[in-house]
């Protein structure tokens, strides 16, 4: 199968483009998605190509962006709504949680909500406390919503296409720091990554590293460096926070008996909290060490570069954690 080397933003753009060409019902809406060409350039050129009916600039109205996407989806369209950055998705929380995630259940299956809410996520470049959230676990708390967080351009493409084609609401988190990073991306317009399917990004027998999004990069770098010392890490990229693909994690844990969770989010009620809980529930007899979490520090993110970086996970912290569980 033919491939192209694309940065993640272009892989996402290709996914959206292909789905808009494939299905008239798919349209994009959000702040600056049209004339501005997209805050993160994912919808670059779309307004010119698809016109204002299918590329809809909105006012700065997060509640209405998410809520109107819910209504449009219920009525049979397939909106891909964009929240400029996930920090602003807190304003859309009610529409997502009380509406998108509940409507299918609450009305006993009478309505479906096939919408995708894309949001750029993650910290970096001194974006400060209000603009540095990676709060995906908060959204993943609720049944009825899927939560995606790709780590490579190929995954980004296949996952976004699957999200658009699925009849359930999906929060699709795109790590800002990964937008420019390139990787091979299949051309196949039907290349899909199934919802809730994790991926083993590196095999190893000594420690299981469970991670997602940007954590994959730190974990792979750590694994590479640890391999030189003869420590072999298995790196599992969950790809989706919901549905959570625990089976491969448990399987790997039964082999390694040790686990480190690497996440960009805060530690309190985090992805790692859930993984650790499930490992002790499902594989208690296989545990040779406590599950260790590498997360952001439990503080709001400050502006100053030196202390900002101090608060955040990185490759060295992953290496240290792996050594602690060995």
């Amino acid at each position: 199968m033919a491939e192209k080397n694309l940065p993640m933003r272009e892989a996402l753009r290709a996914a959206l483009h292909e789905e808009m060409v494939r299905d008239e019902r798919v349209f994009v809406m959000g702040e600056e998605v049209g004339a501005w060409q997209g805050t993160h350039r994912v919808t670059r050129g779309f307004l010119e190509e698809f016109g204002p009916k299918r590329v809809r600039d909105t006012p700065i109205s997060e509640m209405a962006i998410a809520g109107a996407a819910v209504g449009a989806a219920m009525a049979g369209l397939r909106p891909v709504a964009e929240i400029m950055t996930i920090n602003f998705a807190f304003l859309a929380f009610d529409a997502l949680i009380n509406h998108a995630a509940k409507i299918h259940y609450m009305f006993n299956g009478q309505f479906r909500v096939p919408m995708v809410l894309r949001a750029a996520t993650g910290w970096g470049n001194q974006a400060t406390a209000t603009h540095s959230h990676t709060p995906e676990p908060v959204f993943a708390h609720f049944p009825g919503l899927y939560v995606a967080m790709p780590s490579t351009p190929a995954d980004a493409k296949g996952m976004l296409k699957a999200a658009i084609r699925d009849d359930n609401p999906v929060l699709f988190s795109e790590v800002i720091a990964l937008y420019p990073k390139p990787g091979p991306v299949p051309d196949d317009p039907d290349f899909l990554i199934p919802i809730g399917k994790s991926d083993i990004k590196r095999e190893g027998d000594d420690v299981t590293i469970v991670t997602i999004g940007r954590g994959v990069e730190w974990s792979l770098q750590a694994a590479e460096s640890l391999a030189k010392e003869g420590i072999e890490c298995e790196v599992i990229d969950l790809r989706w926070l919901r549905p959570l693909d625990m089976e491969p994690v448990i399987e790997s844990f039964k082999k390694t008996n040790r686990c480190v969770v690497v996440e960009e989010c805060l530690p309190h009620f985090s992805l790692g909290s859930e993984i650790a809980a499930q490992i002790q529930e499902k594989a208690f007899d296989y545990m040779d060490a406590p599950v260790k979490r590498v997360s952001a520090m439990d503080v709001p993110l400050p502006y100053a570069r030196d202390i900002e970086l101090m608060a955040l996970p990185d490759t060295q912290k992953v290496i240290n954690a792996v050594k602690e569980v060995l």
Binding site: G71, Q110, R112, D166
Partner: protein, 330 residues
């Protein structure tokens, strides 16, 4: 207020009368059943007093138009023609309820009636209305969305964002404020800097359709008809109906009994009385027909209660179903 254009015929008026008393009877029975603990839970918001607004406005719609509302939704569902049996079953949390016993009083919906539901987060359904209207525009349909909302709902951000979005996207929505003078215990003038709520339209550059007497079904129908046709041709419009709720905010409201005098004034202009007066003023010997309708409606509600009581409860299978769409590839 709208001027009368087409004279509403007798059959239509009788049908509205029937709907109004049907809603009243349904709500009175719900109230009773709640006190008998046959309807349980903490939330049950009755539509008593609002009937002329719901019936008159829904009558202005065509079948392919859409209706959406908040949690005070029983009357709207009935006005839209949803069968009282599954509605009553929903009140009792039965498997045969419109929402399978999973939604409850505040979350009634019937897809086949283009009744998109009751929603219990104040203002939460407003952007949904905009989204449903967007589908109509997107696919070049001429369907309109009639979105009911309370006076209280005009004060959270959803109202601002959804109404503004309807303006900039030119969506076929009739925003119909059912101003019953209170949001729970808070009077409109305490909650709203501009208590003439229809004037909010001006701020968004949409059509201000003014205020209508929400106790008079014919006047509501006429104003709503104009608004619906305006929305169909042009875009969003805001209409305000002044009405009053007879019961507490919900069944657990203890404060409303303080409003006895105000209540008596409104009950003197009860939608049932007003509709009866319109009919008896216009047609001879209509009383017998009206009394017959009253009796028929009681039987319908008796049957609905019986149906609900004899229906099975939802099961474990129902509990875990429909969290996600299972055949999920659209």
């Amino acid at each position: 207020m709208a001027t009368q254009k087409v004279k509403v015929d007798k059959a239509r008026l009788l049908d509205w009368y029937r709907q109004i008393v049907l809603i009243r009877e349904f709500e009175d029975r719900c109230d009773e059943l709640y006190r008998e603990k046959k309807i349980t839970g903490v939330y049950l918001h009755l539509y008593s007093g609002h009937e002329a607004t719901g019936v008159g406005a829904v009558a202005a719609l065509q079948e392919h138009d859409h209706v959406i509302t908040a949690y005070r939704d029983h009357g709207i569902a009935l006005a839209r023609g949803v069968d009282p049996n599954p509605l009553m079953a929903e009140m009792m949390g039965k498997r045969t309820g419109v929402s399978g016993g999973k939604g409850g009083s505040m979350h009634l919906a019937s897809r086949e009636h283009n009744f998109w539901g009751g929603y219990a987060i104040v203002g939460g359904h407003l952007p949904l209305a905009a989204g449903i209207a967007l589908e109509s525009r997107y696919n070049n349909k001429d369907a309109v969305v009639l979105c009911f909302l309370g006076d209280g709902a005009t004060n959270n951000g959803y109202f601002h964002e959804a109404v503004n979005l309807s303006a900039v996207w030119d969506l076929p929505v009739v925003w119909l404020i059912e101003n019953n003078l209170y949001g729970m215990g808070t009077p409109v003038e305490v909650a709203s800097g501009q208590p003439e709520l229809h004037k909010r339209a001006i701020a968004y550059g949409i059509k201000d359709a003014g205020r209508v007497d929400g106790q008079n079904v014919v006047e509501v129908y006429e104003a709503a008809s104009e608004a619906v046709e305006y929305a169909r041709k042009n875009g969003p419009v805001l209409l305000e109906a002044i009405t009053f709720r007879y019961k507490g905010h919900g069944v657990s409201d203890r404060a409303y009994s303080e409003r006895v005098e105000e209540l008596a004034q409104w009950q003197a202009r009860d939608p049932i009385i007003v509709t009866r007066e319109i009919l008896t003023g216009r047609f001879k010997n209509v009383e017998a027909e009206l009394d017959k309708i009253d009796a028929e409606v009681k039987t319908i509600i008796d049957r609905a209660v019986e149906y609900a009581e004899n229906s099975p409860a939802p099961t474990y299978e129902d509990l875990i179903r429909n969290v996600y769409v299972e055949d999920a590839n659209g």
